[in-house]
């Protein structure tokens, strides 16, 4: 299983509709709206890089998405 954070910058005023569409995408485990350099962080959990490409592809097709930056997780420690 591969996990990745996809950091998204949005065009202003398009976030609500975009998030509704993001929630429909398979392999999206978590979506956070954030304040700062990026607007949205999506956490994807996929079986292989091909599936990760599908997720980023679908994200980039959503109206209002300006730019995506993908960070693949190599190692992780978490409380949950």
């Amino acid at each position: 299983m591969i996990s990745a954070y996809i950091l998204i910058t949005m065009h202003p005023g398009k976030s609500d509709k975009a998030i509704k569409e993001m929630r429909q995408i398979d392999n999206v485990a978590k979506i956070s709206i954030i304040a700062g350099e990026y607007d949205i962080v999506v956490r994807a959990q996929v079986k292989n890089l091909e599936e990760l490409l599908d997720v980023t592809d679908k994200l980039q097709m959503i109206e209002g998405v300006n730019k995506t930056t993908t960070q693949i997780i190599e190692k992780e420690i978490s409380l949950q």
Binding site: M1, Y5, L7, S32, I34, G36, I72, K75, E76, L79
Partner: protein, 417 residues
């Protein structure tokens, strides 16, 4: 389905409390039965003996696959695959949780045998939240903040008010049992159940159904040992009495009902423990008091209990207590600040060492080493931004390997369930 994680956490904890309130009602009836009224030891043994049987049966049913996914994963915990053998890494935690649950249940059975109204039984046990806050400040990475302490105290006192009985006389022994036996053991039990839930088993999150099953097995083992020792010292026969009562069809069905229902309450509780601290979970679980009141009225209507007052003063006190519980829970829910921190480190620094330094910071819930623009993505939770600065930013500044970082506060989030 992707929903807000916070909602799921509260739904799980509150549903668990609702079922627990029903269980307490059934337990009061069972505890008043002649076989158990004067023998809480036999009651505790019978609970776990039949509990182990019924938990095994339910877990096996939940392991049945239906359209490629088992029933347990569909309706209770998505992490559940099937009933499995215990792992070596889990044994220590199960031993402690099992021992605590065994002692707790003996204490609980003693109280149920002494007091009639379940909403009174539950009262002082809500102080457990304060025990948990104290223990978490020692065992967990997150020291309680002022908001947590305030909310917990509001909930605990609200729970006491909501469950006070003006008609019942004050009984010292049950209150002592609650303070010295039930509360400390429940606090340790909750912390270790949480430790089990957040463990990874075969690279998957541990599931609450297996945790519950093995907890009942260990609790049965410890209860039997404790009663055996007690019997040997007092020349009693509580263990045999418990066993004989367990195989009586009437009592078997009664206890199967209570332990079968308890199973669902605990599985949801353990799952919610995986999402939030034990103290916060127990604060939400104080809503059991509110749910116990309709069950108490029902038992009163059925003539099973007699000690429940409908005096207006009494009702006003109970309503004030309920309002306090709700206020406390809401203030818990609203007072959380979460953030992502994106970190770049100097080249040539060992990432694993830096990872451990980041993990040691209080309030850090995830540390990920990533490939791409950033070397680390860290997720943090704190009750206030000021605490975030005091506990997290200051500590980040002390890590020499960090070249630059930026904090991005989470405004709202959703998570797949």
């Amino acid at each position: 389905m992707i929903i807000r994680k916070k909602y799921l956490f509260y739904v799980l904890a509150i549903t668990s409390s609702f079922i627990a309130a029903g269980v307490t009602g059934i337990d009061s009836f069972v505890g008043s039965q002649s076989a158990f009224k004067y023998d809480p030891w036999a009651f505790a043994f019978s609970l776990f003996f039949i509990g182990a049987v019924i938990t095994l049966l339910i877990s096996l049913v939940l392991s049945i696959k239906f359209k490629g996914k088992n029933l347990g994963a569909k309706i209770l915990d998505p992490s559940f695959k099937q009933l499995r053998m215990i792992k070596k890494s889990e044994i220590k935690y199960h031993l402690i949780a099992g021992l605590m649950n065994a002692i707790n249940t003996v204490g609980y059975c003693a109280i149920v045998s002494m007091v009639q109204d379940p909403s009174v039984i539950l009262s002082f046990s809500q102080i457990v939240i304060l025990y948990l806050l104290l223990m978490e400040s020692i065992t967990e990475k997150d020291v309680p903040t002022l908001v947590e302490v305030q909310s917990s105290v509001i909930v605990a006192f609200g729970a006491i008010l909501a469950s006070i009985s003006l008609t019942g006389e004050f009984q010292l022994l049950p209150v002592l049992i609650v303070f010295l036996v039930v509360n400390p053991t429940w606090a340790v039990f909750s912390i270790y159940q949480r430790k089990l839930k957040i463990m990874k088993i075969n690279n998957r999150p541990n599931d609450s159904i297996n945790i519950r099953f093995w907890n009942v097995v260990f609790s049965l083992l410890f209860t039997a040992v404790l009663i055996l020792i007690f019997d040997l010292f007092t020349s009693g026969s509580h263990l045999i009495a418990g066993f004989v009562t367990s195989i009586d069809p009437y009592y078997f069905l009664l206890l199967a009902l209570t332990m079968g229902t308890t199973f669902f309450s605990y599985v949801l509780y353990i799952r919610s423990l995986g999402m939030g601290k034990a103290s916060v979970n127990n604060a939400i679980r104080a809503s059991t008091i509110i749910f116990a009141i309709p069950f108490s009225i029902l038992l009163l209507q059925l003539g099973i209990i007699t000690e429940f007052s409908t005096d207006p003063v009494m009702l006003i006190i109970k309503i004030i207590g309920m309002v306090l519980i709700i206020m406390g829970i809401i203030s818990f829910a609203l007072a959380v600040v979460k953030a992502y921190i994106f970190i770049d480190v100097e080249t040539g620094t060992p990432l694993r060492e830096t990872m451990n330094k980041l993990w040691d910071i209080r309030g850090v819930s995830h540390v990920s080493i990533t490939s791409g623009k950033y070397d680390f993505i860290v997720k943090v939770s704190t009750r206030t931004l000021m605490k975030g600065y005091e506990r997290i930013i200051k500590k980040l500044n002390e890590i020499d390997e960090i070249k630059k970082y930026h904090w991005e506060s989470v405004l709202k989030d959703w998570e797949k369930i």
